[in-house]
Symmetry: C2
Subunit: 287 residues, 2 copies
Amino acid sequence: MRDFSTSHEHLSLNTATVRKQWKLDQIIDECAKRGIRAISPWRDQVAAVGLEKIAKQLKAHDMRLSGYCRGGFFPAPDKAGLEAALLDNRKAIDEAKTLNAPCLVLVVGGLPGALEGKAAYKDIERARSEVRDGIAASLEYAKSVNMPLAIEPLHPMTAADRACINTLEHALDLCDELDPGRSGALGVACDLYHVWWNYKLKEQIARAGSKRLLAFHVCDWLTPTRDLLNDRGMMGDGIIEIQKVRGWVEAEGFEGFSEVEIFSENWWSKPGGEVLDTVIARHKSVV
Amino acid sequence: MRDFSTSHEHLSLNTATVRKQWKLDQIIDECAKRGIRAISPWRDQVAAVGLEKIAKQLKAHDMRLSGYCRGGFFPAPDKAGLEAALLDNRKAIDEAKTLNAPCLVLVVGGLPGALEGKAAYKDIERARSEVRDGIAASLEYAKSVNMPLAIEPLHPMTAADRACINTLEHALDLCDELDPGRSGALGVACDLYHVWWNYKLKEQIARAGSKRLLAFHVCDWLTPTRDLLNDRGMMGDGIIEIQKVRGWVEAEGFEGFSEVEIFSENWWSKPGGEVLDTVIARHKSVV
């Protein structure tokens, strides 16, 4: 298992962590200044500055990506909506390519409309079937441009409105079905916030194996958790056994970045520099 | 599948649903007045009125229980705590017996101390092992007095502080281990709020079978859900496919009550009579 205690060379910052403090170009500069070698940016953050500009800035800093956030949201109430989702995912794949991302992270979507408060339908099996078809179609294009897709199982508390794939086991069932040869084109993003609770976690990490473990995200689960979306904890402030699970992931041969992704009103309210310095310190002491 | 549309003879009320409006003796009277034939009371509600008094009142109304809430919370930071939990569960079993409950529902507990904001330890495998040992020990006593124990998997968002068993699959693994003969002494409580999201739900309901499906609870999942504990929805206000899953449960031979359990600041703020009338109406139209 890699020793993170003396260096943060394996740290990547998911840029949502400081999205309310800075625009993406400043986030990149602030990361570079602190020796953070990789980021995982969000599409809206990239768009706000400009894709080409961000691509150039990354190159200038020799900064890598640990993933690109995000594709997905496949389910829709009608055919037009399903096709629009496929087009949008194709666009996300192209952007990921431009930014030289190692993978496009998929938050697959839940019941269409639920995120806006009113589900167009309640049949979650239908949503799962639309997700399956959406990934299958996107995978075809992704393979043609050599951009791996990483299915990110989200916490079950998001099943209705954000992602109806909620366990590594379910994500890997889909990988088995859509990429039985384990070509490397389809895998999973293992975000501890979403999967830490599962009693089959160790078993499913082993099942994924290094070829399908495309990303590893860390933060912490607070007790109490006061919000279903924006109350993630800084590593060490909650109860996730981060090092133990990182050990399981690395035992499979994972050598990628450890990506810190903290959605938190608490941390968004602090100066960005303080957040980044804390992320680096905790990455050394806790991750 | 039973037809619930014309009668609420199979409805049971989990008394937490109106716990802020009335004490338990009044809840029982109000239920009886409306033809609700069963309840599932909580220990603190029983204690506030008196166990013997409640037992007599139930008998006078010919009112049955669909379960007794609750035993569990087995993990503890030390031996004294583990033993205290076992004693308390023994007491809960005796109370369930006095009230003629068909089962004692187990909310197994999570990391000890987490509910109070500070976990005594983070090792969730240890908590699960303490849960296993606690159920095994309690089961011995429960069998001797013929009181079935129903493990209730809670939603994964409660894994840290309330229940580290979060899927029917995990609960049934424990049933397989501790009661391999399927004696009827150990089973599960299937609460749709906690398990609706799981892609293996149908499969695990079939695995449970009628001998291990000891209780069936309904309410709804709201979008958005604003609180991890107290924002459950009235049936029909959310996205759970209640009838579909009830069909799966009854296909296994389940003939028990359908227990409505709504923890909700919204419904606690309304007059109790309005809540009960709505529960009855929705049970007919939605469940």
